[in-house]
Symmetry: C2
Subunit: 221 residues, 2 copies
């Protein structure tokens, strides 16, 4: 009968996977949202698969770093600077929609209903995470407004649309930008808030209903 | 006022990230447990970080495929075949503990309480997932038993310990192996089931308590 008090060896001192597997697990667990267990699942998936698909993944990782940069005008991710949107002469360059992330810009582009330019902040102000305006591309936005040569085509910006997420941090970021834009000769608007199309009213939260009432739109005088 | 019926463009037809980012997202979403959102988080993390760490990840992915193989004796992951455990003359080569996955072997090694060899099945029988014994290393295990020259050091295997996970599929796999080993001249045992050391009895499920009662150990005649 084994002694009842024997304790297992601490895992960090014990044997482990072969060194190349451990190195891969270390690199994988550095990624956001990947814990040790997920890293193991991914590593075993790669070990089971063919070398071709592992190489494609490795190449995609290195390529993305060498081929992608930020647009000198709007800070969005791009292969060429200025990015295709800033470079397009068909866009209204006096109109700039400010968003938090590249994916927000994509979401707006996919509606095919906006013809102006963008400015990507690359985040939102979040004091709890230690993220202030100096960590975002706020200074680039203000420079674009103050100096038309820094905007696409040298066009003066006439309207700035605030398109932050409708969250506490998004609202805080919008408030900060509003203060910065107060004294500047530009119109400032923000995306409408209200009932999300396709939802049912009974699912809407109090905050959504309050937005819908406050921002009600006239359909007949 | 915008028309109330306008629908957003389908996301797969709309604009997307620059091509290298999309290629990375495609490769990342092929990995188990990584959806589009997680892939975006990882891609942005890599884009924000330095090229050095992205290159380390890429290299770890390719290295793991080129440097890691399976031990010819026990099928465990290894840089050299036979693996260090099978190659060690200090291990009892007449004793083989059969486990499902490399991580199970590591868990046992970390206890530093087992001095025999291993056999890694690389999975468990799971009819619902279409995994049968032919997808595992069962044939290699039987060959090791039937032909001592296929075991480490040419030693005849005297005892096989079944160390599958205490799950429905683990039990099914153990049952299958038991049938295969029935007619072979080896002792067959399985890892003990019972109360997990360090737990409280009131947390134990009915199945755990039933195992503990059925497998009760004599401490006085």
């Amino acid at each position: 009968m084994p002694s009842p008090r024997k304790q297992p060896v601490e895992s960090r001192h014990g044997p482990a996977y072969p060194a190349p597997v451990e190195r891969l697990l270390t690199e994988l667990t550095r990624l956001p949202g990947i814990g040790r267990r997920s890293a193991e699942r991914i590593a075993f998936h790669l070990l089971r698969g063919d070398a071709e698909s592992a190489n494609r993944l490795a190449k995609a990782v290195t390529d993305v770093k060498s081929a992608i940069g930020h647009c000198a005008v709007c800070s969005n991710l791009t292969e060429s600077s200025p990015c295709p949107v800033c470079a397009s002469e068909k866009r209204d360059r006096s109109l700039v929609l400010v968003v938090e992330q590249p994916r927000d810009q994509i979401a707006i582009e996919q509606t095919a209903m906006y013809r102006g330019l963008y400015h990507v902040l690359l985040g939102r102000i979040s004091p709890l995470d230690g993220i202030g305006p100096e960590h975002l591309t706020v200074a680039d936005l203000l420079a674009r407004i103050d100096d038309p040569t820094k905007n696409a085509g040298g066009v003066r910006i006439e309207e700035v649309i605030l398109g932050m997420n409708p969250t506490v941090e998004g609202d805080g970021t919008a408030l900060y930008l509003m203060q910065e834009l107060q004294s500047r000769p530009v119109r400032v608007t923000r995306l409408a808030r209200g009932l999300p199309s396709g939802w049912s009213m009974e699912l809407a939260s109090k905050a959504v209903l309050a937005d819908a009432i406050e921002g009600r739109q006239k359909i007949k005088e």
